[in-house]
Subunit: 334 residues, 2 copies
DNA sequence: CTGAAAGCGCTAACAA
DNA sequence: TTGTTAGCGCTTTCAG
């Protein structure tokens, strides 16, 4: 039997008789033979490897996404090569992280080691956009609109409105918002978008948004805690509810409220965004965005594209869902 | 100029004149030329890619390790391929996760796509041990003794003794311990080892270990919380201190104590293990084991081995350090 | 449906 | 120090 037939049998091509295919597979299993990745890649141009670029490797949310993507890709027979790319903050032009960033685009990705790339929450400058284009490999973005690429993104306005409307429906009128610093984190202006959704909901309910009710934090529990201390300590405002732009900040808010002697939800209702593992433990009402499923979905799009099952451009909105727990309740009559 | 010279120049071989080397590099940069990974691998047998096998992708500790390893490897020019391998629990023989596990060893790793493997907290059965041996590629284990392989591990007994001795030195005599289930998690008997260290310290201090003071949890905040409720609610015991086998469980203990109206450290001292990001926020005394540095160290060993700078077997103990914060204090006189 | 043969783009001997 | 050349182990036309 020729090497060509073996190759075709193992690749699952249709033009092999079931009988020989079975024989090849049996022999391969018995010998423990596995195709050499390098030789196969060199001959075919396909690597069976997908790159995943993540902005953070120490955040619960992104790791949930990674977990979902890795599993889906591995089950389809793909390796996953992980790249870590700290978000550009526009300030440190030639910092270590900026060097790593350009090295990724100019060196690592050019080695032609990946069949496709998953870019999570990645904003690209012109140079990077060109570099990705030159790869002529599919790139799928998760979390923000990447012009010209397949993209899955969350409707941040809708999510923020749902959270705010939930609090409004419970009778709250003085609703504070804890969000990220719009200058620092460049995640597609996600903080700004969520804030806009929050304000739009208020306006529709006939409430004038009060800038004093908006506080900035860095998307961590600590940040949410500090912001909440500042908020609740400010004598000029008297919020009865807080909408935090992430569950971690919401958990920080919960702990801060408790430390200040406010009961949740008695004195203060709190809602977050994400669907964090700990939300259930803390009884936190949240808008779940199913990050692990996001990872699976984006991986599936990559697989479909690589196997030619995908024709049209993808530009979908991700699902989200209000999960009510015990951190929100009807406004207590004064 | 021949392709061979270019190859040598770009590989940084010594046998190239500085002048031509410079010319090659300039030309390469100008053309945006980067060596094709597949062709290079096929010809040389080297992939410049290191596999990392992790038991969990959703735990803070392992992600810190991954972050450190990924950065060190990327800075040395290596790609990182991530494999997720849920720990074998001995029960579900033919579960999905068992299938994924055998597929990793029998298919993915045989593709010869990695120059070396980092195995984090991975216990191997005989088949797997053989499979790794057949790769004839360096394997470095982090977190447990892998016979015959380079290994970095934490002295769990020493860590547990340090934590316990810290509490003893503060005057505590009734010290509880929250640890993992020794049957369920097969992390090299880590929970059992830590418990042994705890008991050894007590015995040395002339205290009889009380099984009622030991509670099992699953290494999460929730688990630590529940275990602490059970512990503090048990009328038969009156601990004045808790040593938890992880910071997450310690944080759970802290929250549980607070919910039961016990002040920390007034009524109860609490110490954990890990050096979690949140330890500082919660004022948690901990034994820091510097997980991110562990990742860097294990990556560096791999790099040294691959570049031939490593001769002897490595079997080192990892550093750890007591970090005292405000969750532990001297025993209050009754 | 199967076989023969021509590379894929590099690296590493070996020569020069 | 550089050039020449023979593969590395597959996949894929092209024939049969």
């Amino acid at each position: 039997m020729s090497t060509a037939t073996v190759s075709r049998a193992l690749a699952g091509k249709s033009s092999v008789s079931p009988a020989t295919k079975a024989r090849v597979e049996a022999a391969a299993k018995q010998l423990g033979y596995v195709v050499s990745a390098a030789a196969s890649s060199l001959a075919s141009g396909r690597t069976r490897n997908v790159g995943v670029v993540m902005p953070y490797l120490d955040s619960w949310f992104f790791m949930a996404v990674l977990k979902g993507a890795q599993r889906t890709l591995a089950d389809a027979g793909y390796d996953v090569t992980l790249y870590h790319l700290a978000p550009a903050d526009g300030l440190e032009i030639d910092s270590e992280s900026a060097q790593r960033r350009s090295r990724l685009f100019d060196e690592f990705l050019r080695r032609q080691r990946v069949d496709a790339l998953i870019a999570v929450n990645l904003e690209l400058d012109d140079h990077e956009r060109t570099a990705l284009g030159d790869l002529s490999r599919p790139v799928v973005g998760l979390g923000g609109p990447l012009p010209g690429l397949h993209t899955l993104s969350l409707d941040d306005t809708g999510v923020a409105r749902l959270a705010t409307d939930h609090l409004l429906a419970l009778g709250h009128r003085s609703i504070a918002h804890i969000t990220g610093d719009p200058d620092f984190e460049r995640d597609f202006q996600m903080p700004a978008t969520r804030r806009a959704g929050y304000e739009a909901s208020l306006v529709e309910a006939g409430i004038e948004p009060d800038p004093l009710l908006v506080r900035h934090a860095n998307f961590t529990i600590e940040g949410g805690y500090d912001a909440t201390l500042r908020l609740l300590g400010d004598p000029r405002v008297h919020p009865t509810a807080i909408f935090a732009a992430s569950d971690e900040m919401a958990i920080g808010a919960l702990l801060a409220a408790r430390d200040l002697g406010r009961t949740v939800p008695g004195d203060l209702s709190i809602v977050g965004i994400d669907g964090h593992d700990l939300a259930d433990f803390f009884g936190l009402t949240t808008i779940d965005q199913f990050p692990e499923v996001q990872g699976q979905q984006v991986a599936q799009i990559v697989i479909d594209e690589l196997t030619g099952q995908l024709q049209d451009a993808v530009d979908e909105d991700l699902p989200y869902e209000l999960v009510v727990r015990r951190s929100t309740s009807r406004l207590r009559e004064a």
